[in-house]
Each structure stands twice: as C-alpha cells, then as structure tokens.
Symmetry: C2
Subunit: 368 residues, 2 copies
C-alpha cells in the first residue's frame, strides 16, 4: 500500500538481489524505519523481536530467512539447523512452519549450488501468493461495503469498525481485514474506519491508524471500550476483523476483545464479518471456546505502555502499582452464532460447518 | 479504608480544625501524597485538576471549599462568588451542586460570624452521610457475595469483576461498588477482584488496584478486552460496577465500556449488578440511551498514556501517530434489560420503573 505517497510492501528483495528489506514495525508509528536482513540470524531476530509480525508476514520472512541461510551453508545439515532456528523464533505461528516447509520442499532434492536460487524463487512466490489471496479477500468483501454505501445519503460515509491490526502491516501487502476497505477507498467509495486501540499491545493505536493514514483512508482511533456506545447510536455500519484461527464450526479466535465487539454488534443489528485467508481455517477443531488453547502473555504488556515523549524519546511507563498481579490472555473466541459471515478468497461464507465444508471440500474432507 | 495498615479517608479536617486534607490522587498509584487545602482557590483547583475525583468526593471537597471561602470572606457577595467558582470547577458533577446547596442552606440566614462554624458542621455531616450510605450499600450487597461463597468448594474464591473505580477513592470512604467487597473481605469471605484497566484514563489500573492492594483484597488487573473471555470460561461469579446516573427505567450510565461487560455477563449467565447511592437515580429521565447526553473528552486521553519510567519519573507518552483523529466518549449506557439488580442503601432492587418507584416513592413521586 502507499507510504508517504509511494507504494510499498512490508517485505521485499533489495536491489542487490539477495538481501531482504522489511519495515521495522517496532519503530511505528513514530518513525518509518526499514531494516536490511542479510543473515539467518538477522531474519530469526526480526521474527523473534517482532520487528515484523502478523502470520503471513512471519511466514514470508521465515522463507527468506532460509534463503539467507542457504547462502551461508547449503548443506543438508545447515538447512536443518536453519529450519530449527527459524521455527523456534515464534513457535505458535502456523504460517511460519508452512512457509519453511514450502522452501524445504523445493530445495531438498536439489544440489547445493541450485538450492539458493530455487529457495529465492519460492520465497518470492509465497509473497506474491499472499498478496493474491488478500486481493481475493478484498474482492469478496468489497460488495459488502458498496451495498452499505448505496443506501447512504450523499456526503455520508460507510463506517467500519475494526479491532487489532489485520491490515497490510500483518501481511505482505493489502491485508485481510483491510483489503476491502482499501479497495473501496481506491474506487472512491467514502469509507471511514473506527480503529480499536487494542490493549494491551496497542496494534490498533500504533499500526492500524498508521497504515490507514499513510494510504489516506479516513479513520478515527477509539479506546476498546467505545465500540458498544458507537453501535448503540448507529455510528457503525459493519465490523470487519481478522482472525488467527477459525474452527470447522465457524468459531473465530482473534485478538482478545473481539468477542465483546461481536456481542455489541449482535445487540445492535450491526453485521459482524471476519476476513481471513482460507488456510486460517482449522478443520481439525470444532468448538472454539472449548478446544482452542488461549496463550497467556506476560504481565508487563498490561502494566506498562510504550510510546514517545514530548521531546521524542521512546519510553516505557508503568501504569499500575508496582507488583500488581496481572492476567494477560492474548486471544478470545467469538462463537459462530455471532458471526454474520467469513470473508475469504472464495467469497463470503456463513460461519457454519456446512457452509465451510461446501466452500473448501478438499480441506474439510482431508481433516475427517 | 486501610492504607499501609492505617485507616484513612479520602478527605479529612486537619488537626488545626479548619484546613482540609485530601489524598492527591494524581500521584497514585506511584506515591501516596496528601495535599492540604487552605483557601477557596486551592479547593477549586483540587476539583478542577482532579487531585480528587468521584462524584461524592467532589461534593465533599466543594462543601469544604465553601467553608474555606467563608473564613476569607463571609459576606453574601463573597459566598456567591465562592459558589460560582466551585460550581464552575466540574460543571457536570451533580453532587457538586447538591453539596454546595446544602452548605448555602445552613449559612444563608446566619450572621457572618456564625457562618463558618455552621458550614464546617454541615460539611462534616456530608462526609459522614456519604460513609453511612456506602456502608448501607455494602450491607445490601454483602449477601450476594456470601451466597456465591456458600456454593464454592473450600479454597475457592468468589470472583468479582469491576470496571473503572467506584471504590473508596471515589467517595469519602468505603465506596459504592467496593463496599460489599471490603465487607466480605473483612468478614473473612475469600473474595478476589478482576479490575478492568479502564482506558483511556486507567482508573482501574491506577486506583482500583491501589485501593484494593492497600486494604489487602486479592485482585488481578486485566485489559478491558479480557472480561468476555473470563466470563466464557467461568472465571467471573458476578460483576459489580458503579454508575454516574440511573434513569427511572433502570438504564445505567457509567464509564465507557460498562455496556460491553454487561453484554458478556448476559451471554454467559453471570449476574451483573450496579451499586449506587440512591441520589444517583434521576427520576426525570426514562430512556438512558436516548436521553442521557454523553460527554466527549479530549483526544489526548486516548492518544497518550501517563505513568512512571523505570527510573521513577512521571512521563506522558504518545502511543498513536501524531495528529491521529480520536473520538473519546466518557460514558455509555447499559440498558436495564442487562442489569440483574441495583445495589442501593435500601436493598437490592430490580432495574425497572416499578421497582425503583416502589423503593423510592418520595423521589419517584416528586419527579412526576
């Protein structure tokens, strides 16, 4: 998407043809900093330290991490070591393992000299495939926004509420939850986004606002507590969020707090959509609330806040009494009954076992 | 309640018999600082700058502010000027006007020399009456906690979730939403509180955690996004929140985000109680969502966060891109249909027009 008027991805091959550029997301939203990854160690660090984040982008970075490793050591042993290093960088990220396995598949049966070029080709494809999937999601979701716009009076905007960041900063480009929004905006549909702050890590306040602002999409930052009030007063036309995992039943695991917005949407007859690349569907699980383990993260994320001081320093401040007990669940599960539809690259699908099996028969069948 | 093992109120007459001590809540939770108010100007500043906050405490401080003003100038003109100064300090606080009118009523028909002593007597009564009302609320709410405790296995705790701070720091002592919790704890009932952070002003993270911690009540700080997940997994036995205004229908206006917790409570069959001194009921309004104007506060509260750095400085940090548009509603309205009961000094009352009129016939009748 656009940054300062220039088209940009979150990850790219540098002009030297081998080193890898990424946006350093730890510096956002205060400064646009890019990092150049030249070694396996640097790629692993970028994943571990959340220089890059978001499931698809983690996958793409891991793929290029294997490419960089192959330049250093293209032996079978080197490859296995690199694989182990990268997979340990964010052990719960499903896309990471998938992307590494994709690279392994194209290099395993080649000679050492052929391996690097084959790996780079597949890594570039992985990036392009991610963009294609998200573009497909955008095409599926665009009519939902256009249908609301068609009912608006001249000068009125379509108001979309989103939670966390499932935007292009979480992907290679476009982003699942934002794809239809960017498409609508680029077509001249007047769309406006309410971005939930998304405590405790503030991905909404720091990343969603930044990416929408850079691309020129009108938006407003709100505290996570605000969405219910907005929906009660007709200020939200639809909710679109991303997801980390959808079960075969259509239950949606996403950033903590998503469930509360889904409840408010239902209570006020606001459509609640979840945008996702179809690999996010886990056909091996049924009941999301019972079956999806929810990661507990460290207390510091809740007890502190990081930002920029008036004189430009980045500081972390403590907001609770020292030693306050904290519990910090990273995700929650929104039951399928609260989900209006799943926006996928194959269209908008009901959040039900039957509809998901019909839309993805090859995957639903394989999981039986 | 207890602070560092010593019983304390939020406001008190100093040993000199005329100056007024308060806890400076702007320094919490990082340091316990008290302030001594000696003039009208200092009292007005304490209200305006939120050195003290919470409707009952604002009222008590305003009452003492008039006392201090009378020491300087006990003339009718001086009194009117002081009244105008204090009422302008927080124009929307209903208790502030009520407390000032109470003092005016006892001094108006007295000589200048008699006025200060009469005002101080009434100010002290206002404080004691607030403690008595909150103690009454505690007596009403205690059986709700005890009933849950009676069903627990040995070693299990009663888990109460609360939002914002309607604790003793918002009152003179005890606090409405916390009264029953402190009483249960002091009686040996094992009670544990989940305290919502309460963005954007963090009253939960900074004040509720501090006051519970000082009194020794077990508690856990959570992001505002977390309550739904906890309720889905049976980790909350009941919700108790405060309120700024309850309509004749039983609709509840409280800190933004309360409505989302009420929705989650209903979705998971968790009882949702609102604790309030009965003067908070506004019998002149019916439909809370339609009729209660919701204050919009400044963008900085959302775009920034204030806290303590590792080396002990208090800093404000920006968390969103500079210039990000923000909307900051201070309150929301929870419809009566989501409220299990109103905990008042006259008992636990259904959130309905009939029940409220039955419990407070003298006030319901006067508002016809």
């Amino acid at each position: 998407m656009n940054v300062g008027g220039r088209s940009m991805r979150t990850i790219w091959l540098e002009p030297d043809g081998w080193s890898v550029g990424v946006i350093d997301q730890t510096a956002l939203p205060h400064r646009l900093v890019t990092a150049r990854l030249t070694t396996l160690a640097e790629a692993a660090h970028a994943i571990r330290a959340m220089v890059i984040r978001g499931a698809p982008l983690i996958g793409a970075t891991a793929a290029y991490g294997l490419c960089l490793a192959l330049r250093e050591d293209a032996s079978d042993e080197g490859l296995e070591r690199a694989y182990a290093t990268l997979i340990a960088a964010r052990p719960t990220a499903i896309n990471l393992k998938w992307a590494l396995d994709e690279i392994m598949a194209v290099v395993r049966n080649r000679s050492r000299t052929e391996r690097p070029a084959a790996a780079y080709r597949r890594a570039a494809e992985i990036c392009d495939e991610d963009v294609a999937i998200n573009t497909g999601i955008g095409r599926s979701g665009l009519p939902l926004i256009e249908a609301v716009a068609a009912k608006k009076k001249p000068g009125e905007r379509v108001n979309v509420l989103t939670h966390c960041n499932a935007g292009w900063l979480a992907a290679v480009d476009v982003g699942p939850a934002t794809a239809a929004i960017y498409m609508a905006h680029d077509k001249g549909v007047p769309v406006h986004v309410f971005a939930d702050e998304t405590r405790p890590r503030n991905q909404g306040a720091s990343l969603t606002t930044w990416e929408l602002g850079q691309h020129g999409v009108p938006h407003t930052l709100i505290a996570d507590n605000t969405g219910g009030h907005l929906m009660q007063h007709g200020m939200v036309d639809l909710v679109i969020v991303g997801t980390d995992r959808v079960t075969a039943n259509g239950d949606v695991c996403n950033k903590i707090g998503t469930y509360l917005k889904a409840l408010a949407a239902r209570d006020n007859n606001v459509p609640f959509y979840v945008a996702l690349p179809s690999p996010t569907i886990d056909f091996t699980l049924a009941d999301g609330v019972a079956d999806i383990p929810i990661e507990q993260r460290n207390a510091e994320e809740v007890a502190t806040m990081r930002g920029r001081t008036a004189d430009g320093r980045i500081e972390t401040v403590q907001i609770a009494p020292a030693g306050t007990p904290v519990v910090n669940y990273g995700f929650d599960v929104t039951p399928a009954r609260l989900v209006t539809g799943l926006i996928t690259e194959r269209g908008v699908i009901a959040a039900s076992r039957a509809a998901l099996a019909r839309a993805f028969p090859e995957r639903a069948g394989a999981a039986q």
